[in-house]
């Protein structure tokens, strides 16, 4: 694993840039633990101070330090994205692999559920959830809801790969070597769908973060937990741009864009590395 990281760092520019960007973002998220003020408190510093040596990113109209707010917000936003991605990856892997390998009625049943989730209009559903649940709508709750809505498309992708893997002769060799279905899926087929899982993880994080920001900006989330979207919501409430408090909006947006681009570059470079074909040619089996 370390050798892979070293190789990637040495030979892949995208990976280097991605690591630096994600590193900065994660660094900020870690710094949130050292925040001198509780993140929810207001009027702890003088309001509307532009970026300066005392307040690097300036302060908000609510008397909060933008730097520490951004740190806490990006931590929550990243955690949110990771939670959604992790849960929905597990769902799409299990359902996709099983559906593609087993076929028959299992496939039809699972894909029936899957297609229902694909056609459900996401945004109205999320807004509906908010109005129904109101105060009990914590970010963890939102993450669970988005995870259950965000696996379907990727499960179809994984199912397609699993179906083609099933017809390859080595899957039959595995069966006739006495492997169980679970072993075949986890040991024989999983390595082939890992590139999909990796790239969709990054995509899924970008998707869920983007949606969370959108919902927060509109005020359809728990606005008392600071997130990037929540910050923008409060900035809008105080007409920050009109008032000339641009730093209140600019810094959270800059950080979330860094996270987006960094995750994307990591996905691209790791994909190239983990792809079975490129792996094979590195092992010396490519040119035949």
């Amino acid at each position: 694993m370390l050798a892979i990281l070293r190789d990637l760092l040495k030979y892949n520019l995208e990976f280097r840039i991605g690591i630096i960007l994600v590193g900065i973002v994660v660094g900020l998220a870690i710094l949130s633990g050292f925040s001198p003020y509780p993140p929810g408190d207001v009027y702890v510093v003088p309001p509307d101070v532009p970026p300066s040596s005392a307040y690097w990113f300036g302060t908000t109209s609510r008397g909060q330090d933008v730097f520490w707010q951004v740190c806490v917000a990006i931590r929550n936003t990243l955690l949110f994205g990771i939670t959604v991605a992790a849960i929905s990856r597990v769902l799409s892997l299990v359902i996709g692999l099983l559906s593609g390998y087993k076929g028959g009625w299992i496939d039809r049943a699972l894909m029936g559920v899957n297609d229902t989730f694909i056609v459900i209009p996401l945004f109205p559903i999320l807004v509906l959830f908010y109005f129904v649940m109101r105060d009990s709508m914590t970010w963890l709750m939102l993450a669970m809801i988005m995870a259950t809505l965000g696996w379907a498309y990727d499960a179809r992708l994984i199912r397609a790969v699993a179906m083609s893997l099933k017809t390859r002769e080595f899957s039959q060799t595995a069966v006739f070597s006495g492997m169980t279905t679970r072993e075949i899926l986890t040991r024989e087929h999983l390595p082939y769908v890992m590139p999909i899982v990796f790239s969709t993880t990054m995509n899924n994080m970008n998707w869920s973060i983007g949606l969370e920001v959108t919902l927060s900006v509109l005020g359809f989330t728990d606005i008392n937990t600071p997130t990037i979207g929540g910050m923008i919501y409060w900035a809008n409430q105080h007409t920050a741009i009109v008032a000339g408090v641009w730093w209140w909006i600019a810094f959270p947006i800059a950080v979330v864009i860094m996270a987006f681009v960094g995750l994307f570059l990591l996905a691209v470079s790791m994909n190239e590395y983990i792809d079975p074909r490129s792996r094979l040619s590195r092992m010396g089996g490519g040119a035949r």
């Binding site: 190789d7 990637l8 040495k10 030979y11 040619s281 590195r282 010396g284 035949r288």
Partner: protein, 350 residues
């Protein structure tokens, strides 16, 4: 890659007399290697390592070889399909109709465009590579051949129909989509496509391998009759020795990226000289023949790390001390019969 033609003096004592009869293709000491670099692991696979041969006018030249013999790479090189990681490292591929360029890979696009289909055409294993699955067969003919043949749409179609009759295809196939045709019919369409402009040279790469045996025999017969009618030269590549015996005029045997033997086809079968060829022919089972067949021991060479000297020596029953040391030169041991083997040509090495 381009530049003046590198006219090497042949490093091997190629007989002048046999080659004098106006070759259409002259391959001179061609070397094509795969060079890959993946995350710091660099490899060089010497897939074609110094191959020299000529294809004369109006002959079917066969090229035989097994896995890792380099025949696929050689064909790619001759067809100019050089894409990284494949690189031409040395030597030249000269066509008589394209003077001044050491190969298609080194010629400008306009020149390649000029000779393609008009002078040089291809029949590949998968006919779907040529036939667009979304278009009717007639459209593919129009795309490839109309600008070379000219004439009105009607005249052109009449010509295509007349040509299809040569491969015993009904004109109705022109209105069909490729998937509506059987494998044998599709391959006959690609043969018609490859020959309609009466090209000087046709590269046929395993064109019958995917076909059933009965269809194969039929298609081979068609290739032969069209070739004779048009006077084209054909470079016919297959691993199937039975097909070579049936069709080709001269035959080159490849092993480990090099040509090891070349002779008129009947002579290769009746009088093989290279120990590898002897094994290759001797191992073929025949119906009605109950003598036990022996297979070759060992494995094909790894071209990323090929054996020194003669690449066959680790598996060769006649291997001598010199074989591991020196690459055997290609020598004309009998008239028109070239062999690269120290045991067959003692003292040939310089």
């Amino acid at each position: 890659m381009s530049g003046p033609v590198a006219l090497h003096t042949p490093t091997t004592p190629v007989a002048g007399a046999a080659l004098a009869s106006d070759p259409v293709l002259r391959v001179n000491d061609i070397q094509a290697h795969f060079r890959t670099q993946h995350f710091g692991v660099s490899r060089e696979v010497r897939a074609v390592d110094g191959v020299t041969f000529d294809v004369r006018r109006n002959e079917i030249y066969g090229l035989a070889g097994e896995s890792s013999s380099g025949k696929t790479t050689l064909i790619k090189t001759i067809a100019g399909a050089i894409k990284p990681p494949l690189q031409v490292v040395g030597g030249s591929v000269q066509f008589s109709f394209m003077p001044g360029y050491p190969g298609l890979h080194a010629a400008p696009a306009a020149e390649v465009e000029r000779v393609r289909w008009r002078h040089l055409s291809y029949v590949m294993q998968g006919s779907m590579n040529v036939l667009n699955p979304m278009r009717r067969v007639i459209s593919t003919f129009q795309d490839f051949a109309w600008r070379h043949l000219g004439g009105s749409r009607k005249q052109f179609e009449e010509r295509v129909v007349a040509h299809l009759a040569r491969v015993r295809l009904d004109p109705a196939v022109l209105r069909a989509y490729p998937h509506e045709l059987s494998g044998g019919m599709r391959q006959r369409v690609t043969i018609a496509l490859a020959t309609i402009c009466k090209p000087d040279f046709i590269i046929a790469d395993e064109p019958t391998t995917a076909l059933d045996v009965i269809v194969q025999k039929d298609v081979l017969g068609m290739i032969r009759s069209i070739q004779q009618e048009m006077g084209s030269s054909v470079l016919f590549v297959t691993h199937d020795m039975g097909v070579h015996a049936h069709l080709t005029d001269r035959l080159g045997i490849m092993y480990g990226g090099r040509l090891v033997e070349e002779a008129p086809t009947p002579e290769i079968f009746s009088r093989p000289l290279h120990p590898y060829t002897v094994y290759l022919i001797g191992s073929l089972p025949r119906i009605g023949d109950d003598t036990p067949r022996k297979s070759l021991e060992g494995s094909p060479p790894n071209l990323a790390d090929p054996p020194t000297g003669c690449r066959f020596h680790p598996r060769c029953p006649l291997a001598m001390e010199v074989c591991a040391r020196q690459v055997p030169p290609m020598v004309e041991s009998l008239p028109g019969h070239r062999v690269a083997c120290h045991a067959v040509n003692p003292g040939a090495a310089a």
